[in-house]
Symmetry: D2
Subunit: 507 residues, 4 copies
């Protein structure tokens, strides 16, 4: 809950689709893109952008971008416009800076000597500034501050000497990957193919799905209507696609009407483990998504169980700050044996009301967002599970609300460790100074927020809760384990918790 | 969940506020109205309307109405405009007919010989057509089809002979009440007072709150900053007000800067019990609201327990169709001893996407709205609790989704009885023919929707779950029990379930 | 030009259409209404409203209202919605008070015992306040401050004793006319007929046209596709209709699919002349409209000629403040023999720019609106014709502009007399104090505005320029001359110039 | 009039401003830019864009772009945002292709090694395609199809070897000019200066003004508050600036807070005359603008006189298709001695009404746009002056309207020669096949459009009407005549009339 309140968030979601077989097919690519992107809406609500190609020679590209949720950004006339697509990519964006303009929306399309390419990505290039200087030194003017434009110009820039008549996109993408180690999950559309790329550290997620006829969705038959690629597998359910596999760290996958083909896996430096963002499990991803073979909900529930082991509480009931902390709260309840009850009722219609805050309203604060379900906890000691405490200023009024409504004690248990360090790989985190874990008040955090006690999950506890499930999957899923031979197979980025970044930061 | 999907819904929420003490006070009435209405947003999302009065002689009224949610309908300039108010009423409306225009929005304001009156109400006059004819026979043209205008003209119309210099609003309101028995909870604002009125059967809810300084919100001290009146008490929490009491069936309460005064209680016909809408408990109200001394959440939980007694299931896990059925599901789990798990993950960003449905999309249906939390139920027998099944066409794809994701059996338990009859008192229900309970398919409802079994709560079970809590409160709350002397003190309208309407329908 | 700048303006335009012959016909009534209203747009730009009826028993009425110009207020979906109409009325409104809300938009529709009636009118009831009190004393609440609602309720209110099964609308309209002498041109739609009514003084214009097949538009043949009624005949050209005749002062005309029928002519009090607003000629009407048998442009040109006779100038060139004063300027040039040149170039894109005025901008003032066509007048003495000077603050910067660009002298000649009195009959005029003619500065108006000399047309000159053309038409047009037998046949309201109002003002 | 109807139009207007003296000054640059651009609105109504710089080291640039007229595109909050500017450029765009997106709006801003540059231009590069290929061959991806981005990337691309620490923008601009001969009038803003550039052929206009205190606007004193540069001098009047001089063909002028400095004049190839677009005189420019020392209105009037000499008519009255042909009509009237009258009244409120055309409406066509001022021409022979006939389908219904309203003969005289060839230099002209002058019907154009006779001005007549005024100015204005030594001093592009393009078209 803290994340949401504090403007911490994922920067983006990407999604792509290619109709299988001879074009045009029955599959309405624009519809698939729209539904797929709606299922990634939790990864970004600021803007939505679509580019489709008819796949012809030369191809016709059609673009639509709009501000706001997919449903707002993509009105009927836009969908109509996009119907010509036999393949396409799309993108939903989270506002990281408050500065949001349509021209910063992805996908980014540029015309090159070989025709147009379209690029959408999730992540943040750790060496973006150095790369910008390099590109500009070559004489290229950059019209936005977005990494997407930078990536696109880097792809366009590769000296043409190594190419004859046609562009060698794989070589260009490899070249790009050699320039920047992380963090990006990338979709590059050129004419009739989509290249799906994950950085060598696998910091951001990306997975592939297969569209089958709805009637055969759950049979084992092999009809394929199209291929989709997405930041998260939750979007496959929405469109009736089957989960196929993850794109591997460092892998370049080509998706065309003929199918899916792995072109290359760029290795990490010797000895480096992968660095998949652990907060995808903790907070960002939708609970029904699958990463590394395990469902996110289950990982969160394990975090709750682990938390109950690490930080047991003498209390009467366990509850959740709805809705994101619920799996952890149920896990805590199961492990601890304490009964699970609901204590807060969320007003789902609270939006931006244009009320100028006065003292009264500031004091009320969270009250317009949550109602107290008094009967469930009055006279009781409550363990309240939250998924994170970032700034520490949103949990405090909730505790006050519960105590005033009759809770005798409110114990806070946080299903993730304290965030202490900035992220340079695509997550928007408050400045170091704003993080409660770096403030003097953290010494007496319980007193500061008015709780009877506060305990966080340990880093080790979190990592084990995450990796335990992967371990148990190793035997089943040989595809993953054999493909990336450099360094360890399992590893997660915990930089915001530990300050240990997966690559050296050179700026 | 069914309710929401099928366009069943409450018609309205009303809210009013009067600043206490000498005007102007510190209390910003326009802000209180806005926040109060946001907390009633679940009762209507089509439009929002506000009327404030400065309370002077003659008073200045300021009106603002807008389409959509409060946050949309009430932009900053509207709030600014309304700042002059020392008292005011507001209203949020649910679209009952699909026909929605700004001019049908409440509150309705008319100029009369004595000055302007403003009226907002929740409910539906059972004899509206007869009353319209009566008013028009008097030579009045009606410019809308709304009951609010009708009520307002009826209030204006009372022959002036019984009044001298000033209007006798209580007499006029009593006269109105003698013309129409139910259903209405009514706010009438005239100059510097608000009259809060509930019909003699108490069919729609209405309660009063007291605004105290935030710092003293939970102390016993008696500073009063203002008075509020609302369809539901959940809006009091939002604004830092304390629950004061319900308006009684048939009661006319005057709210002014001097306080709250009960002016009269109009009795029901001899022997008639009250008829508070039982579906306020089952579905409409926010779970943290209080009716008849009991919290709605608790009643829903009792319904779940009662259902477990009436309809036990041989299964592995109990779950909910989020979010409205969760209290009942937790109640069922507690009573049955089966573990509670989550099986569905809701995409809260699914809105109106402008996708023209094709076969594929129709088949996918609910998939874009819910994701399956597979790990929690694969290989298991699931009892899925829903709060209602109205048309029977939304639960079916959910069952399919769960079975395809690995549930071995899906048993449906419904925490309310089947709806079989239309409501004429303000609830929007499909036609008799559309209700699944009236269709031949209902004979084999389990087969029809693809469930292993389907069982509904009985009417008796529902009534006892509702009234059990009231009974236990009788001793504490003498105010309610003594005030309405005609007929029985406890009684609920179950017309949509039983066809027994609280009054004779004369059209 | 002054009028426009100073917020002086007509309050409304009304338009109606009935398809002739058996319904449905080929004629698209909604289109005719829209085009007809666009041609009346100069009479009001604040809002547009439409009501159509299918004419059945009982009829279905469809309403659409919107803010802004017809093109904004009437989007495609509105036109679609209105296609069901076989007859309809519409209205465009000028903001008289700055207070504008959709609910004040006409036409006003109310439901009565006999069914719905719709009313649109142009004008202002001189005794509106007394009538409001009367209506409210009867027990009717009025929901707006508009005369339209008042008229509609008065029509509804007529005691039903004089009617049996069906309403007697003519009696009701006559009754209304007996209650209020002026000022109104009125369209009342009931089921399948439109009643077109002009007040006994004929203060506001209203005329009838006949829609013929486009191919026969200028032949003498008699096919009739429909009937239209409009504030001004300029709207007939737009839709391919032929001018048929004016509605006479006091006349009630019934328009149905069977044709046009004069039902009654309500007389004025003995001796009272008609009082058609003379400013319709001077400023409000479109120059191609026809009143009393003469084209407005020609009257304005005659005013210019008369002005040249009354106020000759020793100068080199004659010019206009574009565009409304051009006919008068050409008339002045013809009469005086001085050459006509253009001296000002209008920037037709100047709209509302959101620039906060600072000193520089205030000083520049009119410069953003007009450019000087220097070559045409540098070194010359200019006679500049304006149609009116109301407040005197807009002509001043124009004179400055011309002098700075090289005019040696600028003489102002105004083609109408000074306005000195308020209008209570539907024209929005600044307060008496704001009118330049009532200020001390008027003694030396030339010095005040920086002109070499300023002269106005006399009241006698204006009246003779207007009536000269009517006189010459008398023989041709016997229909008009014989129909209204009470009092003189020709007469114009000059109240704003002379203070002589056509009726006694009793409030 | 034909131009407007047929989508022929200028592509753009550019405007820039630099505050003089020590920053910040009293001059509000954002306001000056807005007002300046409003005065260029006739050159483009599709979008408006603004970029301001605070001029610091490093500078902060602020950008605002919006669709529609300046008044729509630039709301109050945008103006507020732009207030930080001490200098700035802006641009208004005409939709040439129907394809209009915000991202194509100018000015175009890119980040380079040396900092950001902003570019706005008017015109079209004749060799754009070749230049695009060249840029892309260098590895630059182009994200739009606009020439502005191309120009910007060309400026960024110049090999950095010739520069040391700071960019040599003059060298880069010269380099750009050596790559592309025409057509462009260009504003380049870098940090604290604006470079104003006109292509060597001077195809598009550009001139400089000086802002003086309003009180001294027409004195000879020399206080300078700022400098402005604009496509047309009409924008100087709007903001109270004095006309300073034209930018010469091929000239690079630097405008800074220190004043205006001519940096270089790039010559044309030996023997090539300048090629200022003659249609700026005929149609595009506002009549109060000054080109080559003469007022556009006067040139148009001379065209009318010349037309009267070349094509006299035996008729009764001369008139105009309002409003653009009026100067020519007055010129024709003066030369011919025939009286000038108005025959058409324009409905200035005709906008986009969403009426689906049916037969009736198509037949009526122009009627909703123009009313006939019948009295002025009934029974007379009319000479109607138009400024151009492009496709021939809009004049035809006007002739029909006049004849039906009583004109005995309608003779068309066109104040420019027939357009026969496409323009590749920034003017949007229908395809060759669509031009009436290239159709068989042109042989009997009078019969085709229903006129008694049709005559066009000759090319020689047009050129002499344009150049006659320049000749007479030669002695006065030595600045112009001495500056550009290569080739003839006077010359105009008549390519669309003659097919003789100023440069060879190499694609």
């Amino acid at each position: 809950m803290e994340f949401e309140e504090n403007g911490i968030g994922e920067e983006c979601g990407v999604f792509g689709c290619v109709a299988a077989g001879e074009w045009p097919t029955q599959l309405e690519v624009a519809q698939v893109l729209t539904l797929g992107l709606v299922a990634l809406q939790h990864r970004g609500q600021e803007s939505a952008g679509f580019v489709v190609s008819n796949g012809a020679s030369p191809p016709t590209y059609t673009t639509h971008k709009g501000m706001g949720l997919v449903s707002t950004a993509c009105p009927p006339e836009a969908l109509l416009k996009l119907r010509s697509g036999n393949l396409g990519i799309c993108h939903t964006r989270y506002s990281t800076t408050g500065f949001s303009e349509l021209q910063n929306c992805q996908p980014f399309v540029v015309d090159t000597l070989h025709g147009k390419i379209a690029v959408a990505h999730n992540g943040e290039l750790v060496n973006a500034l150095a790369l910008r200087r390099k590109v500009m030194r070559h004489g290229v003017g950059l019209s936005t501050s977005s990494d997407s434009e930078l990536i696109t110009q880097l792809l366009a820039l590769t000296p043409p000497m190594e190419e004859r008549d046609a562009p060698n996109w794989v070589a260009r993408i490899k070249n790009l990957m050699s320039e920047t180690p992380t963090s990006y999950s990338l979709l590059v559309m050129f004419k009739d193919v989509i290249y799906a790329v994950r950085d060598p550290y696998g910091n951001r997620p990306l997975c592939i799905g297969r569209i089958v006829p709805v009637s055969k969705l759950h049979s084992g038959e092999e009809d394929t209507e199209g291929w989709v690629v997405s930041s998260e597998s939750c979007s496959f359910q929405s469109i009736g696609a089957k989960y196929y596999r993850e794109v591997l760290p460092g892998e370049i996958v080509q998706i065309s009407k003929h199918g899916v083909k792995s072109l290359s896996v760029v290795p990490r430096p010797e000895g480096d483990p992968p660095a998949f963002c652990i907060f995808e499990y903790v907070y960002f991803a939708r609970p029904d998504s699958i990463f590394e073979g395990q469902m996110v909900y289950t990982v969160r529930q394990r975090c709750g169980r682990q938390l109950a082991i690490e930080a047991p509480t003498d209390a009467d009931v366990v509850s959740t700050v709805p809705e994101s902390a619920t799996p952890a709260a149920l896990g805590y309840a199961q492990q601890s044996g304490l009964p699970y009850v609901e204590v807060l009722c969320k007003n789902r219609y609270v939006g931006r009301t244009f009320i100028q805050p006065n003292t009264r309203l500031r004091q009320l604060g969270v009250a317009k967002k949550f109602g107290a379900l008094t009967d469930n906890f009055a006279g009781k000691r409550v363990v309240l599970i939250d998924d994170s405490i970032v700034r520490g200023n949103t949990i405090s009024p909730i505790i006050k609300l519960l105590k005033e409504a009759g809770a005798t004690e409110v114990h806070i248990r946080v299903a993730s460790p304290p965030i202490r360090y900035p992220c340079y790989m695509g997550i928007n985190i408050p400045t170091k100074e704003e993080l409660i874990a770096n403030k003097p008040e953290f010494q007496d955090i319980a007193g500061y927020i008015g709780a009877a006690s506060v305990k966080y999950l340990t880093v080790e506890g979190l990592v084990s809760a995450v990796q335990e499930g992967i371990a148990s999957l190793k035997e089943k899923d040989e595809m993953i384990s054999t493909s990336n031979t450099s360094g360890k197979r399992v590893g997660h980025c915990t930089a915001c918790l530990t300050g240990k970044y997966p690559v050296e930061l050179e700026w």
